[in-house]
Assembly symmetry: C2
């Protein structure tokens, strides 16, 4: 009997930071999923039956597995370990990876201490930055445009708080980028992808003055220039236009 | 030269769900840390220099490592792997583990699919439940009591929303507990500990009617009866008294 193989599929929202983090991961691995676009506040019954948490992204692997959420997906890829195992599980066909920049070899590189440091930073972005900045910006600036039920003007006090938080986070990214080659250490890791995923949404929404944070800017330029990032720069959400510099590599 | 060994130390807040999850993990591993009690909204400079995210818990291992946050700590323990490695890193002296109930052998038991399922559920509690229930309850019912600067009456609308969310989460726990021996599958895992950590705070605050959710209650009784849970049942926060059933094993 021939194993029935499906297409690798990613259900995501273009401005969801967790979805973007996993899109970057798949891109670094040379994998090109088929995309299913959804909005986090308008998920249908089929989606909710598969993932009652109603969270994004959801990855359907070539061998029929369902991976739910960025945490389970990233650690699953780490558990698989070898390129061959990842390929067998995810890739529908042999993939050629663009070698214009060095590929990310593993999501959590180095020894157990380096891995803990990378995970500390991922937690920073997926838990703290998400709550203090990403979700607030999406709630005030994106949802009211796309979701008629919540249509209203942004709450000025909420936006002010999110902006103040964003400044603090950017200064910490700058501090790290000044001390280290990549946020987690000498090698690029999932921490860089997760951080860039969140920051790219604030950037899409015109909330970042890069000139104020030169070290953070240099680091972001490095991540933004990677082939895995290109599809994110082409994202457009109707009714929410990014600033001119959003898609520029030299910004 | 003799390696300088320190005492295992956990900096935590008694009603922080992430702190509780790691207390349960350490308890299951037979480790008894020295506790440093802090309040998440009143962290001092020394703490913030070590952990600028201002998140809890922070674990200082016997060999001088600093582990920041529940995510990095739990995955670090998984990376260590063997009991011996965990012991060498964490335990100040040989520990005797109470064997009245079967110990948790590994935080993420089973094959890679089981591990992904456990992590899906951890994400559910640490990201979704935390945002929709734990942080809301702490913000409305605990912080105003302990933190003079924010002293005020709870916001009725926020509490109503958190309670409605809690009902949905409890029904999902009940659904899982009806289908499976433990939340993640046949074996107890970190998913049970993380879920119980969050629920134990809602329970401390008198927000759970266990009679409404009998399957969830049976599962919670199992976790609550473990020796690792006992210290949590003895926690008391000044000015916030738990209901009578909080510390009872037969509730």
């Amino acid at each position: 009997m021939v194993e029935r193989l499906r297409q690798l599929r990613l259900t995501h929202f273009k401005l969801c930071p967790f979805s973007r983090a996993i899109r970057l991961v798949l891109g670094e691995l040379g994998l090109r999923p088929e995309f299913v676009d959804v909005q986090p506040w308008a998920l249908d019954r089929t989606f909710l039956a598969a993932n009652p948490a109603g969270t994004l992204p959801v990855v359907e692997t070539r061998d029929g597995r369902l991976l739910i959420g960025a945490y389970a997906t990233a650690e699953f890829i780490d558990d698989l370990g070898s390129d061959e195992a990842i390929r067998a599980c995810f890739a529908a066909e042999p993939v050629t990876v663009e070698r214009s920049s060095r590929r990310l070899d593993t999501l959590f590189p180095g020894d157990i201490d380096s891995r803990a440091e990378v995970r500390r930073l991922i937690d920073w972005f997926h838990l703290k930055f998400d709550r203090e900045v990403s979700q607030e910006l999406l709630h005030e600036k994106v949802r009211p445009v796309l979701d008629r039920k919540t249509s209203r003007a942004p709450d000025a006090a909420m936006l002010r708080a999110a902006r103040a938080n964003l400044k603090y986070h950017l200064s910490y990214v700058g501090f790290l980028a000044d001390q280290r080659r990549w946020l987690g250490g000498d090698e690029i890791s999932y921490a860089d992808l997760a951080a860039a995923a969140h920051l790219s949404i604030a950037d899409y929404l015109g909330e970042i003055d890069w000139e104020d944070v030169p070290y953070a800017q240099v680091w972001y330029q490095l991540v933004k220039s990677r082939p895995s990032f290109r599809p994110l720069l082409e994202d457009r959400v109707p009714g929410v236009a990014p600033p001119a510099h959003y898609a520029e590599l030299d910004f």
